[in-house]
Symmetry: C2
Subunit: 247 residues, 2 copies
């Protein structure tokens, strides 16, 4: 059974792309078949060029112009580029504008069902690309820095998620907060981590991602932290274990 996970938070710079990239790599490292979809026109997830699927990109896929084809690999990416921002302007007022990705995935169902996980990276806003990802996913991972602005922004995201569940996607089984860039040298990080656990209880991963220079550096080598510095990928390996355990 393929699990579709949207990685989303309208707050910018909280580690959405880093989580899609590194959790994807660590799940693939555990012999899971993983498809990444870059639904952000900034196309930062697409930095990992060695797993691009050929002859397809996020815009042509979401519009239903191209279908997923099989290739022998177990770790693949539907890449994007700036042209994806056209989807926002062209489709914002169309009927069923939030369900295009769902339809595209259904159209390629045979191929999608070969994967164990589909991870979708989203842009830092609540626009139509984000609602498409949230309308098709089974689970949501919400990266949150243990810093005040990110903590505050959580309320906005959770309110919106509630409406998506009611109006568009009752199948969302779970959502979990992933504390990121945690740096215990800063006094607020411990405080905010405890506040998150107290307020959101089982909706916070046990695993948290510490601030980690190798995670920040690996995009410069156009790859994930597992490929770049295997001995420093521990937090994302633990996250992969926890995601697998949650079943």
């Amino acid at each position: 059974m393929t699990k579709i996970i949207a990685i989303s938070n309208q707050k910018g710079g909280v580690g959405k792309t880093s989580t899609a990239l590194n959790l994807g790599a660590c799940l693939a490292g555990k012999d899971k078949k993983v498809l990444l979809i870059d639904l952000d026109p900034q196309a930062h997830l697409s930095i990992k060029k060695d797993i691009w699927l050929k002859d397809i990109d996020a815009l042509s896929f979401i519009k239903g112009e191209k279908e997923l084809k099989s290739n022998g690999r177990d770790f693949n990416l539907i890449h994007s580029d700036l042209s994806l921002s056209r989807f926002d302007s062209e489709f914002s007022n169309k009927l069923g504008r939030d369900q295009y990705l769902k339809r595209a995935i259904r159209k390629s169902e045979d191929e999608v069902s070969k994967y164990d996980f589909v991870l979708i990276d989203t842009p830092p806003n609540l626009g139509v690309l984000t609602t498409n990802a949230l309308s098709v996913c089974d689970e949501v991972i919400i990266p949150v820095q243990t810093l005040e602005f990110a903590r505050q922004g959580l309320e906005i995201f959770l309110d919106m998620l509630e409406s998506i569940k009611e109006m568009l996607n009752p199948n969302i089984k779970s959502w979990n907060i992933l504390p990121t860039m945690v740096d215990f040298r800063r006094k607020q990080d411990k405080e905010i981590l405890e506040e998150l656990r107290k307020e959101f209880k089982e909706h916070v991963f046990n695993t948290f991602i510490r601030t980690n220079s190798k995670v920040a550096e690996s995009p410069r080598a156009q790859t994930d932290v597992l490929s770049y510095a295997k001995n420093r990928a521990e937090d994302y390996i633990n996250l992969a274990k926890e995601v697998l355990k949650n079943g």
Copy 2:
């Protein structure tokens, strides 16, 4: 002569709000009259409640429903809240959608002209709120983390800025990149800082903002770093000096 500065970058989490907040406070600290405008529906700049202007918010101001009134203070903020996201959906297809802020500022010209600086915080996208800020400003400050994703995102922003200058606002006199969260313990930070200086030359501030736990903590005390930890506000004080020197 009032100088209007937009603080903008579609890449998320690069320090746009932190720069508006702290540069604003440091300019006010040098006896300049400063008006902040929170043009991000996330409303993080609005965390500094002690400088809110009464009876006005960003949505009513940009729509021309409310005008700026004088109050005896030299450091003020037109705050926002989530309702500002309605501007995006309601005005995206209206005639002159990018010029609402310009018209609003012109309508309140008498009041605005009492300020030395107007700093505008923008959301992490190139939507209509951002184009409104860029259509009225004299200068742009582009915060960029010395990390790969932020470095890559710069191209997208500068291309868009070029079109704004041609189509909407030929008055933009200058744009400058502000390196933020610089951490020389990471090897790429020095490399990227040098790359930025080499590629963009005089368009990069001499001042750069180092990673600084007090900058990250001050929002938790609902204030800026100058008020929160005066002895740790040095980088933003230097930035204020450089902005004043550029004249």
